[in-house]
Amino acid sequence: MEDEAGVYARGVTRAFGPVQALRGLDLTVPYGRVTALVGANGAGKTTLLLILATLLAPDAGEIRVAGHDLRTHPEAARSALGWMPDTFGAYDQLTVAEYLQFFADAYGLTPPEGAERTRELLVRVHLLELAHQPVHVLSRGQKQRLGLARALVHRPKVLLLDEPASGLDPRSRVELRDLLRSLAAEGVAVLISSHILSELEEIADRVVLVERGATAGEHEIATLMAEARGLWRVRALEEEPLASALDVRQMPYRRQETGGLDIGPLTEREAAVLLGELVGAGARIFSYAPVGGALESVYLAMTEDRT
């Protein structure tokens, strides 16, 4: 069962001098799913990704990437994993196509294979028109997509992404999300680290919370969302019937200056039941949605517990 996961890590520790970056971290990244790595700055996310990318050796712990033990077979693991760092190291003088072609060569693809794969990836990350432009003319979002294409050049079974969404405009984020979802659908094990929690909700299936170098929890996003209690913002054509319907049910609410009432905290199930009652009571509701992300509230609640 263990080897069915793209990444299997148990008890990973790593210190930099006196600083203990990881203290016994456990992680499982199944194939065909997107797992999010969530934690505060300095929680050890980047260190963990560097270790998984075979760049950094752990002090202790057992790690297998695509079934290859990192201690004994880092080369085999390297061929099976794609890694996208948080900073895009640009070779400014290369064109977009040359950049990908080089990495195709470096991963041992034959030149025709590499050329075909380069074209395929450029189409996939929407950079085909820029194929013959030098890398330095690309925008941040375009560079990010090129970095992702580079990480995919050798068709890895495991994809590791460090803060891929940072600094991206909304359009690029949506495209990144669609791309990662389609990769997961193809069976790739995707691990993505991020601070932007509301976004992970849409991208990830699972979330691993990391705190001070250790795993603080592994959850299915769907379950989290169902169990999480959050505030819900309700908007109705007329506020008064809505407010009195809430008063009758002794449901606490707060009026928002921007319009609408915030009610809760409620789980999804509770919110759905309440909605039916409110509509039945004659409230003409046109909007009923969670405030902020469920993941964000869970994360904040969890980190609060621990401090």
Binding site: P58, A90, Y91, L94, F102, Y107, R150
Partner: protein, 336 residues
């Protein structure tokens, strides 16, 4: 380690560095400098025998070229590893199937090739005295080949420093210190150790007895060997000695041989060989051949050997430093 991987990295280095176009300006400036120096040398050198002008120009020009190449070479590699680390371009390379040795040797090859291209620009001027017939072609070829190897070793050493030191400014500085130590530190050390090997010697007996200070460098000559100037000068094949005959026609047989004064390289070569064999073993000679090879063996194989060992060691150190997963990191180094 495959040749394919090495060439792949070398080609990448070439494309990323050469496309900036700045090299064209640098190459142009370099060519002009060597041109001006050659013309000045040619004009400044006036010996009694015009055929010696070429010999003197050749030696001086080669020393000048060697000096400048030793200043350029560290700059070619002093930032290849830590500079790439700072730019974040090294780690993606390390996660591919390229081996550390392929990355290290590919980068070195590219830098060395640039150094050789710069050296190539000086070839017309080096060839000038050779084409005029003043300098033996073999001497020309040997001198250029030795310079080429020395460029490679300087590149390798400063590349290793860039792999060892976190900041590129520091590694560039250390590279220059190393090259200067090899060029001038060796000579300085040799001179400073001379009092240690100088002793009073007593000669003769009775009333003829006298005392003389003798410096015996048989134990310190090797200090000179790693100097690029010494290697170049000693490796240059010796010129034939010049025959000098008495102007007095009454004694036509009274001819002797002497060394060519204009031959800077030959003079240095003879001096270091003399340092190796010690004070008593070489005497002034007026024969056609001053000494036989076995009586004054060459110094340059030791120097060149030391440089090649240094280069090989540097390449190994660089490759070792590029090995991932990294267990320990030098201070201040981020993997990515």
């Amino acid at each position: 380690m495959t040749v394919r991987g090495m060439l792949l990295v070398a080609r990448l280095e070439f494309r990323t560095r050469l496309r900036t176009g700045r090299w064209k300006v640098l190459f142009g400036v370099w060519f002009l400098v060597v041109l001006v120096v050659s013309l000045l040398l040619r004009g400044a050198v006036t010996t009694e025998d015009p055929s010696e002008d070429g010999v003197e120009m050749f030696g001086t020009l080669l020393f000048f070229v060697l000096l400048l190449m030793m200043l350029i070479s560290p700059a070619l590699t002093a930032q290849t590893i830590n500079g790439d680390r700072e730019r974040g371009t090294l780690a993606p390379l390390q996660t591919t199937r390229l081996t550390p040795l392929e990355i290290a040797s590919g980068k070195l090859l590219a830098a060395w090739a640039v150094g050789l291209a710069v050296l190539g620009l000086t070839l017309p001027f080096v060839a000038w005295p050779v084409l005029e017939g003043d300098v033996d072609p073999l001497r020309g070829v040997v001198c250029v080949a030795v310079t080429a190897l020395l460029i490679g070793s300087a590149c390798a050493v400063s590349q290793a420093l860039s792999a060892l030191v976190a900041r590129s400014v520091t590694s560039a500085l250390l590279s220059y210190l190393t090259v200067f130590a090899l060029m001038f530190g060796t000579l300085l050390l040799f001179v400073l150790t001379m009092p240690l090997v100088t002793a009073e010697r007593h000669y003769g007996t009775g009333e003829d007895a006298y005392t003389q200070e003798v410096t015996d460098t048989r134990r310190t000559w090797w200090l000179l060997a790693p100097s690029p100037f010494v290697i170049l000068a000693d490796a240059a094949p010796a010129l034939p000695r010049r025959q000098v005959c008495s102007v007095d026609d009454s004694r036509p047989d009274d001819c002797y041989y002497e060394n060519d004064d204009a031959d800077v390289l030959g003079w240095i070569g003879r001096e270091v060989r003399q340092a190796r064999v010690g004070p008593q073993n070489v005497r002034e000679s007026y024969e056609e051949h001053e000494w036989r090879e076995e009586s004054a063996p060459a110094v340059w194989p030791y120097g060149l050997g030391a440089h090649l060992l240094l280069a090989g060691g540097s390449l190994a150190v660089t490759a070792r430093r590029l090995r991932v997963p990294a267990a320990r990191l030098p201070r201040g180094v981020r993997v990515a």
